[in-house]
């Protein structure tokens, strides 16, 4: 059966994605997000049963799919999710590059433009 294999693969993908996203360098975080998006797509794909034996066509005398057929809906969901995650990744890559240009670093622990370290406390009186 394919499902357990794919489930393990999804787990590996998640592990790799989380490892990469825990890095402090933005480009690794982006790679992690790319892998995360794909692992979710695989998860959706697996959730709808993986088989080619029974075609997902409702026979004329029945009202629903024959037992054991792959559910086609997750595949439709993946199409949506792929488009969305791809467009988000494109946006994020441009944003990361722009951040690298403007902030001069790809190290998130040095990105302090919005929250400078030396910002003062509010005045205690006047």
């Amino acid at each position: 059966m394919m499902e357990p294999l794919l489930a393990i693969l999804v787990g590996l993908f998640f592990a790799a994605a989380i490892y990469l996203m825990l890095s402090k360098f933005t480009i690794r975080i982006m790679l992690g997000i790319a892998i995360l998006g794909n692992s979710v797509n695989l998860l959706l794909f697996t959730s709808g049963r993986l088989t080619r034996e029974v075609p997902p066509i409702i026979p004329a005398n029945l009202e629903s799919l024959p037992a054991g057929a792959a559910n086609p809906l997750p595949q439709a969901l993946i199409l949506t999710a792929i488009v969305i995650s791809f467009s988000f990744l494109a946006f994020l890559l441009v944003l990361t590059y722009r951040a690298y240009q403007d902030l001069g670093t790809d190290d998130t622990s040095e990105m302090h433009a919005a929250e400078p370290d030396d910002r003062p406390l509010p005045p205690l009186g006047y």
Partner: protein, 516 residues
């Protein structure tokens, strides 16, 4: 070759014509997307674009008002895409909770749109502020009105991508930095939500919320519903900026144009809370009860982090960001307390109040900067001498944010404190009240420094402008109105919470012939 046989699909379709009123369920989204596309084409005409957008937002508010009126009169209504019978067709199901949130969000967006006339200049309009605003509203309205979990995910993404466009409007260094953190963390949160949706479909075989709510009872013994509920809790808590996943909010919300901050503070975190309430209270109520100690702890920590953060900030916008977080903590406390003691109705009331109030607060910050020339507590002063009227408006909003009577922040806190005392969760009541106390100190100091302190430098007083004064006054009027006459809204949020705790009317609207 066999002759193609025609298939009789009538059994799978809704054959009766759709009643004209049901189109209202889809109209807010269709209106926003269409107008957003039209506005994009009118990029070269900034003036026309702005006025078209504002009249469009006014129309959106009217549509949502009509929808709310219909839902109040007749109960939940359902419209199915492509006439496919639910659960196969994607359903838009509007109940009282969704309609209330959608109407309030439209009012807030209208106020922010008018304020944008003064705040967003020619270049901001050319880079698409108004089209992005309409698309953001499409996402927000869609999330409030849909009755399908995957569809909810799609609307989350619509509002997320529009918010990315809005947050970097201006492309300053600060904004790029804030936007990067905002974008990455919110994208991870929506991806977590999508994982939840995938597992949900694997367990239930359906994505229709009404269908899920009716099937959850039978599946509870065998399916990993606790895992699902925890995943959804994490994803939506991240969206709503609850502790410990709240740090993206103060890192990002002070960077964009002030009107964008106002929109985000009013709408986006509340969409997270809305989804949390919808999924945990309506779809998985038993799991919510199991998780409630955890949610209560997170709520208490969120309130304290928000209140203490507000005390420690010198930048007004960041201070308000922490006030948003403290408000989220109060709503989470309502979710933790549950429906029996009125916790959910408190959370619903608080969400409605917070949408109006947080937008108004950020608009006030913009007005402070316009009059005082900055956002820093250490540099501002003398605003009371400059304008008594503006000072009065601000004071009303500040008191409402602290939860003091007679303004709209008082009532949801009363409900929440009473609900937690009824359930013997005295420590949660103490945290809610203590958080309010700390917030009062933060706002008291803000008022003292910015309004009462003599101006450090003799600035040029800027005259009142209707574009900024009108939306601020209108939102403040709402805050005062619902503080003095809360009965109507109280009754509405109570019946919204009742509809969530016992979704029979919701189910009936999706499956008129009874659940399958």
């Amino acid at each position: 070759m066999a002759a193609p046989t025609t298939v009789d699909l009538s059994a799978a379709l809704i054959t009766a014509p759709v009643p004209i009123g049901h189109w209202l369920a889809i109209l807010p989204v269709a209106h926003c997307i269409t107008l957003g596309a039209v506005l994009l084409m009118l990029r070269a005409y900034p003036r026309l674009q702005a006025w078209l957008a504002i009249s469009g937002l006014a129309v959106l508010a009217l549509i949502d008002a009509a929808l709310l009126g219909k839902v109040v009169a007749e109960g939940p209504l359902t419209m199915v895409m492509g006439r496919w019978l639910p659960p196969f067709g994607i359903a838009f199901t509007v109940d009282l909770f969704g309609a209330l949130m959608a109407f309030t969000s439209a009012l807030v967006a209208l106020a922010a749109g008018i304020y944008a006339l003064a705040d967003i200049g020619e270049s901001g309009r050319r880079y698409g502020f108004f089209p992005l605003l309409m698309l953001l509203m499409a996402g927000v309205s869609g999330a409030f009105l849909t009755g399908d979990v995957f569809n909810l995910y799609v609307w989350f993404e619509v509002l997320l991508i529009s918010s990315f466009g809005l947050i970097i409007l201006g492309s300053e260094r600060q904004q790029i930095d804030g936007a990067l953190k905002y974008a990455v963390l919110n994208l991870i949160a929506t991806t977590l939500f999508l994982i939840g949706v995938g597992i949900l479909y694997a367990v239930f075989g359906t994505l229709n919320m009404a269908d899920i709510a009716s099937k959850a009872r039978d599946l509870r013994a065998t399916a990993p519903l606790m895992t699902l509920a925890s995943l959804f809790l994490l994803a939506f808590a991240m969206k709503a900026a609850a502790f410990p996943v709240n740090f993206w909010l103060p890192a990002a919300y002070h960077t964009p144009r002030i009107v964008v901050s106002a929109l985000f503070a009013g709408l986006l975190t509340k969409v997270g809370i809305y989804a949390l309430i919808r999924v945990l209270v309506m779809l998985l109520p038993i799991e919510r009860a199991e998780l409630s100690p955890l949610i209560a702890l997170a709520a208490a920590a969120t309130i304290l982090v928000g209140a203490l953060g507000a005390l420690a900030e010198n930048d007004i916008r960041r201070l308000f960001g922490y006030v948003v977080i403290a408000g989220i903590g109060n709503m989470l406390a309502g979710v933790a307390l549950g429906g029996t003691g009125g916790g959910i109705s408190g959370a619903v009331f608080y969400a409605l109040h917070s949408m109006v109030l947080m937008t108004a607060l950020y608009l006030t910050a913009g007005e402070i900067a316009r009059r005082g020339g900055g956002f820093l507590l250490s540099a501002l002063g003398g605003l009371y001498r400059q304008s008594g009227g503006f000072t009065a408006l601000s004071l009303v909003l500040f008191l409402a944010a602290c939860g003091l009577p007679p303004f709209s922040g008082f009532w949801p806190k009363v409900i929440l404190v009473k609900a937690s005392l009824d359930l013997d969760a005295w420590w949660l009541a103490a945290v809610i009240l203590g958080g309010g106390f700390l917030t009062t100190i933060a706002f008291g100091r803000l008022f003292l420094l910015v309004y009462w302190r003599p101006a450090p430098a003799a600035g040029v007083p800027s005259p009142a402008v209707w574009r900024t004064g009108l939306p601020l006054a209108a939102l403040t009027a709402l805050v005062v109105g619902f503080g003095i006459l809360p009965e109507q809204l109280l009754a509405l949020s109570q019946s919204a919470a009742a509809g969530l705790a016992d979704p029979r009317a919701y189910l009936h609207s999706v499956f008129p012939g009874g659940a399958r």
